[in-house]
Symmetry: C2
Subunit: 199 residues, 2 copies
């Protein structure tokens, strides 16, 4: 009560810290609903929180199917399981898709920040062959594309800004489960409540 920070955020940061020695501990699964109303699920990488808030940053390629999914249905659920500490976070919320055509200058600024925050190796993927399309043998054998490190975000680079609405936390060691739910206050700020539920 009284804290401006989301109460589950410290729990998540502690889990990230406790599992940081494990490879790929920052990978989680993002579920979406496709335009045929069937679920899709894939691994993506946690790129941190936006500023001091509770919105989660994810980088992706505008040419992937998840972009169509998110245009059809912006509601998503993250499932993040931590192997070392036996903890699961199920985070449901809404995704804002930010590509180069976004009119909002502040969002474009955040997209550029995320672009330069990722490694050159990551950035190069966005000038490579279109993900999911049939692989052409000649492209496989040709040399990898190169990219000027000073160049800004390319057209295929897309930032997903995930705004959490509910967090379902399960600890399999202590066998405890907590559900955090947000409501919008009159000022538009999220207010979080939590409830202990059966695991």
């Amino acid at each position: 009560m009284g804290s401006s920070s989301a109460p589950w955020k410290q729990l998540l940061l502690s889990s990230i810290e406790a599992n940081s020695h494990l490879k790929h501990h920052s990978y989680f699964q993002l579920a979406t609903v496709s335009s045929n109303n069937r679920p899709s699920n894939r691994t993506v990488v946690f790129r941190g929180f936006q500023d001091d808030g509770d919105k989660i940053l994810i980088n992706t390629d505008t040419r992937t199917r998840k972009i169509n999914d998110l245009k059809h249905c912006p509601f998503t659920e993250i499932c993040w399981y931590f192997m070392e500490s036996w903890e699961q976070f199920r985070i449901s919320g809404v995704v804002d898709v930010i590509d180069g055509t976004t009119p909002d200058p502040l969002k474009l600024e955040q997209r550029e920040k995320s672009w330069f925050a990722s490694s050159l190796r990551s950035r190069v993927q966005y000038v490579g062959a279109s993900p999911g399309l049939p692989a052409v043998a000649s492209e496989q054998s040709s040399q990898s594309p190169s990219l000027d490190p000073s160049i800004g975000p390319v057209a295929a680079f897309c930032l997903l800004l995930f705004d959490p609405h509910q967090v379902d936390y399960l600890n399999l060691k202590s066998n405890e489960r907590l559900v955090f739910t947000s409501i919008a206050s009159d000022s538009g700020k999220k207010l979080w409540t939590s409830q202990k539920v059966n695991p």
Copy 2:
């Protein structure tokens, strides 16, 4: 060609083997669509394949929300990421929900087999407090429920039989991606084709 086994199955079994020293390597994420048409995502445990086929077995509790999701929409997508070998399997398909009210005796037999194949510790969970409901303090402090090891599946025990239709395999070490797609043959048997696509 000519093999009766699904071509991706050996790939998956090899990944399981290569990651078997890791804790929880048999955990994957199952995405469903809820009745409000939003996605849900949670970690579940791989309980093997049914007989010699390609159908995947998952145990769950009839009192969890995923059962309502599956009645609303039987289509699901598994995302299984292997940390050690940097491999991802996205498996989409249809789930058959098998609880004690299922009329088919062969399915009931499979459910019983899955019940006795799980540990007593796992089975005891199905006679515990209803998952997701507000925790009552008195239930928390009371002793754990006990269960006769010879007793058959209780009402809350539910078997999910997952029938894969498509498998999207990604190897982040070799940077290769293969999509396996099934079509039903005239005899009703699945025929699998595969295509190399851009990662």
